[in-house]
């Protein structure tokens, strides 16, 4: 099942979720009513069940219960709308800084960065749960633009790099599949059912205070019924609330269990290394604490986690995760059930180096600023530190099957990402990790290569940005000038954690300056355009979160004008002769089944002012339509046998706008000198 089919399936699961929820609420109302009726309506003598029915009482109970449940759900959903970070902080998460010194944190961030580049998404926020000794991880966020990954201290310290990679790959597959949105909705909805427990507890404890008073005042111990019905009501609500929690777990398990197997399979496929994920699962089995969480919010967020965060429950059906042994056997059929002994590590201790030599680490990347010995001229010969010349990038990847790889990065994408990161010039690598450097780098990338235009743009910048920023830009200029094109979009993806650290006023300035630079040269530079779109989409999603819009178009006909603009732009940019342009355009149309219904637009009409609104509209298409769109775009681009750099960039921009993460690609043996 590919990315687009999974998105459709996620939508169907949401419908199922709503139905289960309605059922659970109805049953809860009935049960509460039953308890209330039994307490208040029964007169000792008669056991006639029909007497228990009182429409007025029922209406009242139903109204009150619905109010509580809906209120609980709405409040929780609103609280979670702040993005994955809100969930992480609720669980006690601490945001990791991408300039950290701690080697384990650095290792974790490296793994996350490699995966982000391999899957074509911006690097998400990474949180550490320092108070959790168990091995566990989660991914959260309403949309991929707000994604956050959280990892427990146990996970970060106790797993090997391969095992860590398996776990992170599992979480990434949740992000790419759109599972997170469903998960967050689940949390909000189910919270309403759990609310009842809270109220029950409050009533129970408050009335026990009345009890004490009552004893002294009246000198008689009340049984809790008759005079003072509240504690029994409280107890009843507690019981009902417990039932509500059970319903909640049932719903969660109905929706989420199968997905854990799927995510495991995706992770294994992505890393091409079953031992990593299996090893992590085995270590969970071997650790006393396993994957259990200490946090009070463990119940609410249980379905978000990699492993089971709660104590093993009585009924298998209520568990949000498949049993550990089954998961391991699905990956490693030879597993015989013996877990390795894993000892916990105290929080303050860093990982102790063992006597054995460390396992071969992937090529070490220099992520600190130029080492002091280097500055003092004592660098070892051959170190790449401070060198402005970039090493050549890894060999290109085939462009076929691109659309099939959307949301499903392959092992060679991961290998490519690792090599790309190792080859990234250290100046750039350092710059992307702090906000000023990241901002300066983006400005530098957007500047025109034409000298006259460039100096005009610099003049404009002088008016708009602070001196410190300009100085940093000057410092980076040589590295950026010699930066191979293949590194540009990945470098921007790496810059996102730093860009998210901008304050809102700084972000507004950044946006207006980038827009000014892009518009200043009045030409169709597709790299600039795709960069601008990517920044806007992901950073606006962080600074001005909006509700995601559902699919509004399920047929291609209404989108014909927008399709025409897009395919024309692709055809115009990718070809020189008129005949080839027409041929490319026709190829795309044919894929969509539109034959001769529309014609190629002239270059003059394919400017950014038209492309932008068209892309916005196409973003509202259903997943199945999006797949066809991307297929058609690829046909247009591949019609002349080569994929130019500009076409590759526009394809990725298109995919990004449509919320379809596309792994990196390089033109297959065509000119990169553009």
């Amino acid at each position: 099942m590919d990315f687009f089919a999974r998105q459709d399936q996620a939508r169907r699961h949401t419908v199922r979720l709503v139905l289960y929820f309605i059922l659970a609420v109805a049953l809860t109302v009935l049960l509460i009513y039953l308890i209330v009726a039994v307490i208040f309506l029964r007169d000792g003598a008669s056991d006639n069940l029909l007497r228990l029915w009182d429409p007025g009482l029922f209406a009242g109970v139903a109204a009150a219960t619905l109010l509580v449940i809906l209120a609980g759900s709405l409040i929780k959903t609103a609280a979670l709308a702040g993005g994955g970070g809100a969930v992480a902080r609720m669980l006690g998460g601490v945001l990791l800084n991408s300039q950290t010194d701690d080697p384990d944190e650095r290792r974790l961030l490296n793994v996350v960065e490699e995966m982000a580049i391999a899957s074509g998404t911006p690097v998400p926020e990474v949180y550490l749960l320092p108070g959790e000794g168990g091995i566990n991880a989660f991914a959260a966020g309403f949309q991929s633009t707000q994604a956050a990954i959280g990892v427990t201290r146990g996970c970060m310290r106790l797993l090997s790099r391969d095992e860590l990679q398996g776990v992170i790959a599992h979480e990434f597959s949740h992000i790419l599949n759109g599972d997170m949105r469903l998960n967050i909705r689940l949390m909000g909805v189910v919270h309403g059912l759990i609310c009842i427990t809270v109220i029950g507890r409050v009533l129970l404890y408050s009335s026990s205070r009345h009890h004490a008073y009552g004893r002294y005042a009246l000198g008689a111990r009340s049984s809790g019924r008759g005079n003072n019905p509240l504690p029994l009501l409280g107890l009843g609500l507690l019981v009902i609330g417990g039932i509500g929690v059970l319903f909640a777990r049932l719903i969660k398990s109905a929706v989420s269990r199968q997905r854990e197997f799927l995510a495991d399979a995706a992770a294994v496929q992505f890393t091409r290394n079953p031992d990593g994920l299996a090893g992590a699962l085995k270590k969970i089995g071997g650790l006393t604490q396993g994957s259990r969480l200490q946090s009070a919010h463990a119940e609410e967020a249980s379905h978000l986690f990699f492993g089971n965060g709660l104590k093993p429950s009585l009924f298998q059906g209520f568990s949000t995760h498949p049993p550990l042994i089954e998961r391991i056997q699905a990956i490693d059929p030879q597993f015989d059930g013996t877990f390795p002994a894993v000892s916990d590590i105290k929080p303050a201790e860093p990982r102790q180096p063992s006597g054995r030599p460390p396992a071969p680490e992937r090529p070490r990347r220099q992520v600190r600023p130029p080492m002091l010995p280097d500055l003092l001229g004592m660098a070892a010969a051959g170190a790449a530190a401070g060198s402005p010349l970039s090493r050549p990038p890894p060999p290109p990847l085939p462009a076929r099957d691109l659309v099939n790889h959307v949301g499903q990065p392959q092992p060679n994408h991961l290998d490519y990402a690792v090599e790309l990161l190792a080859a990234l010039p250290s100046e750039v690598n350092v710059a992307v990790r702090d906000p000023l450097g990241a901002v300066a780098m983006v400005y530098g990338m957007l500047l025109s290569p034409d000298p006259a235009m460039r100096s005009d743009q610099v003049e404009m910048l002088r008016q708009k940005v602070e001196e410190g920023c300009l100085a940093e830009l000057k410092r980076l200029a040589p590295s950026l000038a010699s930066l191979h094109h293949a590194f540009r979009l990945p470098a921007v993806e790496l810059a996102f954690p730093a860009l998210r650290q901008l304050s809102p006023p700084q972000y507004e300035r950044f946006r207006s300056v980038t827009r000014a630079i892009i518009e200043s040269d009045r030409q169709l530079d597709l790299f600039e355009f795709s960069l601008g779109r990517m920044l806007a989409r992901h950073l606006d999603g962080h600074f001005h979160p909006t509700r995601p819009k559902g699919a509004q178009y399920h047929a291609l006909k209404p989108l014909l004008p927008d399709l025409t603009v897009l395919l024309s732009a692709l055809a115009q940019v990718g070809n020189v002769e008129e005949a080839r342009k027409e041929a490319a355009f026709a190829a795309g149309l044919k894929r969509l089944g539109f034959g001769g219904e529309t014609t190629l637009l002239p270059m003059a009409e394919c400017h950014l002012g038209r492309i932008e609104p068209s892309l916005d509209k196409l973003a509202l298409a259903s997943p199945a339509l999006k797949k066809r769109l991307l297929d058609a775009a690829l046909d247009v681009v591949a019609a002349d046998g080569t994929i130019r750099v500009q076409e590759a960039d526009l394809l990725r921009a298109l995919a990004d706008t449509l919320d379809c993460p596309m792994p990196p690609l390089l033109p297959e043996g065509s000119d990169l000198t553009n």
Binding site: F40, L41, G56, L57, G60, V61, A63, A64, L67, A71, I75, A78, A79, G82, A86, R89, L95, N97, Q99, P369, P370, L372, L375, L376, G377, D434, P435, L436, G437, V439, P451, S455, V458, E466, E467, G468, C469, A471, E472, K474, R475, A477, P478, Q501, L502, S503, P504, P505, Q506
Partner: protein
């Protein structure tokens, strides 16, 4: 009788519900804003630490040339050490007025002593020509620019937080849950330093 109780419950519940919602959302907002400025301070912290790491090396390099300017060099090291401890204290409690003021004071002192050092080194062309010295100076300038940028972000977040906690009705919640005012991080503008010229074309 039961109906009365129920009606009472519902009538009380609705305003209580709204009050509850208001309180929860106000509290969450303040917590979020407080988190944001604490994170912003962490960003400053990283750059300040880098600055503090560079200074001893700078002084070592300069020592060889500035043989008779020991007081200036020692003043720099002293100021740097004071700033390191002020930074550590502020890191424990970002936004705390006393700690932030102390840090700002220490930073001002450090900038002043560094300024004296660089003014002095104008008179020593050998020192100015030394590549190591140039590298370190450039790195230092870059780090100071990053500190300034991070400070700007921090101050923006502190202002937003302070405004939120003073506004009615959020100020009620701020009072109830001890959301104290945060202090800005203001330093004096450092003198323009002569960094090696990089031509930009």
């Amino acid at each position: 009788m039961i109906e009365t109780i129920l009606i009472l419950v519902i009538v009380l519940a609705i305003p209580l519900f709204f009050i509850g919602v208001f309180m929860i959302s106000g509290y969450n907002r303040l917590v979020g804003l407080r988190n944001r400025f604490k994170n912003a301070f962490a960003q400053i912290d990283v750059q300040l630490k880098r600055r503090y790491d560079l200074i001893p090396n700078l002084v070592e390099t300069a020592k060889g040339y500035l043989k008779h300017e020991r007081e200036t060099l020692e003043a720099v090291i002293q100021a740097r050490n004071t700033a390191v401890s002020a930074n550590a204290a502020a890191g424990q409690n970002p936004g705390d007025p006393a700690a932030m003021k102390q840090l700002a004071g220490a930073e001002n002192m450090l900038t002043a002593t560094l300024g004296r050092l660089f003014a002095l080194s104008e008179a020593y062309p050998d020192l100015k020509a030394n590549t190591t010295m140039n590298n370190l100076t450039e790195e230092l300038t870059s780090t100071e620019n990053k500190v300034a940028f991070a400070r700007q972000a921090y101050n923006d977040s502190v202002m937003t937080y302070n405004t939120a906690r003073e506004r009615v009705p959020t100020n009620i919640i701020a009072g109830m849950f001890k959301f104290d005012a945060a202090e800005l991080f203001e330093v004096e503008k450092p003198e323009q330093r002569e960094a090696p010229k990089v031509s930009f074309s």
